[in-house]
């Protein structure tokens, strides 16, 4: 697909969900010279819907964390369609703390229909895991970059997206929940999702204008090259701060992100 194509919000959703899009495996392969996957939350199990590990970015050690979707049905079942359970978020927290301990920047790749709404996920504290992940990330004393590559839905996406830099692929979406879920809550009619997409303001362009994301990355090979350069530049800039200043700046960013749209 040409990067010049202007898609409607609903077409953007379809493209954001396209299984042929680059996923975590492609990003790891293209952007890093080495990657060692680290498994498990040390509490219960390894959640394959969230990948994490040490990586080398142009010789610099970083921690990579990201949702994993499948390219086909078999893979999707294995990775639970990119819907992460508490164990996945807890693995993420473990790896973020490890990165902080060794001073490695954290780079996350967001692509999820939402956190897994399942029986075990609830029993094991889905809310608690997401809340802890957000809190942990908000205070990390290392640089944090998040890239929304496909679907960024609900708290399941935000759990790994409280970052110094939040970037979106041109045809990615970032939303309070899936347009189908939104339509079903607001109008009790999931088939009104196309309409929901217009109202919800979920495209990279709209969210950049709101100041809720920091930058847009073009689709395709050109975007991958640009992303590589952007990560390098951002890390250089962020690493000029002391660890304490990094955490404080991130706190201030999310403290003021809504641009005072409330009034007193």
């Amino acid at each position: 697909m040409s990067t010049k194509t202007i898609l409607s919000p609903y077409e953007t959703v379809q493209e954001a969900r396209n299984p042929k899009r680059n996923g975590i495996a492609e990003y790891i392969g293209e952007l890093f010279d080495d990657f060692v996957e680290l498994h498990g939350d040390r509490l219960f199990r390894d959640d394959p819907s969230l990948v994490g590990g040490m990586a080398s970015f142009h010789g610099k050690t970083v921690m990579v964390i990201g949702h994993r979707k499948g390219k086909n049905t078999k893979e999707n079942i294995e990775y639970n369609f990119g819907m992460t359970s508490p164990e996945g978020y807890r693995k993420g927290i473990r790896l973020m703390k490890m990165a902080e301990k060794f001073g490695w920047p954290v780079i996350t790749f967001v692509d999820t229909p939402g956190a897994y709404p399942g029986l075990e996920a609830e029993s094991n504290g889905q809310s608690n895991a997401i809340a802890q992940s957000i809190a942990c990330m908000s205070a990390l004393k290392v640089p944090v970059i998040s890239i929304i590559t496909g679907e960024g839905n609900s708290g399941g996406a935000l759990a790994i997206a409280t970052a110094d830099c939040v970037w979106m692929l041109e045809h990615a979406i970032y939303a309070i929940l899936s347009p189908e879920g939104f339509a079903s809550i607001m109008w009790k009619d999931a088939s009104r999702a196309p309409e929901a997409c217009e109202i919800m303001k979920i495209t990279a362009k709209e969210l950049k204008e709101f100041g809720l994301i920091d930058d847009i990355i073009p689709e395709g090979d050109k975007g991958m090259k640009q992303l590589d350069a952007m990560i390098g530049k951002a890390l250089k800039r962020l690493e000029k701060n002391t660890p304490e200043q990094l955490a404080l700046n991130r706190y201030e960013k999310f403290r003021n992100l809504d641009g005072r749209c409330w009034s007193l």
Binding site: Y116, G118, I130, A131, I134, A135, G155, M186
Partner: protein, 287 residues
């Protein structure tokens, strides 16, 4: 003997409810109906019984003011940021009209009421999410008020108590609402890292973006009996797994069993329960 029976539980004093307070169960009706068993009761009778149905024991949803008067020492509550109002960042159709009507009906600007008060003589920062206002959903004004309350509690060195009841992030403010999860979780996290005590009290229902942010970050996590608490709503889970959920799933008792909360506290005992925690906390700080 159960451990929690070692210390005799005093019943809380009945709070004197002032006439200016707004109606719980809404509509200022003199006769109210229980949503569980449809039994009718007079307003005064319900007030005397802590808004618990005498017939079936179900808890009526409390508005913020009633909750505050039930929990705090009489006349001790000083409200903060009372006039803070959300905007309409997405220009969402009919949102402003809806807000206007709710503000009139509920006599509050949004779903979160907060301030400084005393519980059993101990000063606290306290906040209450009110499910009568758009399901207690968290938009930008709610998020901002929670963050300010946490910062105030930190500055004044006060314990922080928040009663939540919410359907989650507010749909009408889209991603702006989602970002309040980061804002509130970060503010609470910071408060706690600086040594603050956060008591998170979950009431029926607490789900979605509220349960998955600040509300799950309590040093002490408490809930009212039978309160529904979870990330996804029961209907969404049933659709996902393709079968009915077991009885009691996502209820306070289920969460206690699974290690997600510290205790379940009956409504009539909340004030004395919090008082005991706060007293021991304060003693522990002094020594």
């Amino acid at each position: 003997m159960k451990l929690d029976e070692i210390f005799h539980k005093k019943k809380s004093r009945l709070s004197t409810l002032k006439s200016r307070r707004i109606a719980t169960g809404a509509n200022h009706k003199r006769i109210l109906e229980c949503s569980q068993c449809a039994a009718q009761a007079e307003r005064e009778e319900l007030e005397q019984n802590h808004w618990i149905c005498k017939n079936c024991g179900a808890y009526f949803a409390l508005d913020a003011q009633t909750r505050i008067e039930m929990v705090c020492d009489e006349g001790s509550f000083h409200e903060m940021n009372r006039m803070m109002a959300t905007g309409n960042p997405l220009a969402f159709p009919d949102y402003e009209k809806k807000l206007k009507n709710l503000r009139k009906k509920n006599k509050t600007m949004d779903a979160f009421t907060c301030g400084i008060a005393k519980i059993e003589g101990i000063a606290v920062a306290i906040g209450v999410l009110d499910s009568h206002f758009l399901m207690g959903s968290m938009g930008t004004a709610v998020g901002e008020k929670i963050a300010r309350l946490a910062e105030k509690a930190g500055k004044k060195n006060l314990p922080l108590v928040i009663f939540s009841a919410s359907g989650g992030a507010r749909m009408q403010e889209g991603l702006f609402s989602l970002m309040q999860m980061s804002k509130t979780a970060a503010a609470i996290h910071r408060f706690r890292e600086d040594g603050g005590l956060f008591v998170s009290f979950l009431t029926h229902p607490t789900t979605g973006g509220v349960s998955a942010s600040y509300a799950s970050l309590g040093d002490i996590m408490l809930a009212e009996p039978d309160a529904l608490i979870g990330f996804a709503g029961p209907r969404v889970i049933e659709q996902t797994i393709g079968r009915k959920l077991p009885e009691g799933f996502q209820r306070a008792e289920f969460l206690l069993e699974h290690g997600m909360i510290d205790d379940i506290v009956k409504r009539e005992e909340i004030r004395t329960y919090l008082g005991r925690i706060l007293k021991m906390y304060r003693k522990g700080k002094q020594s």
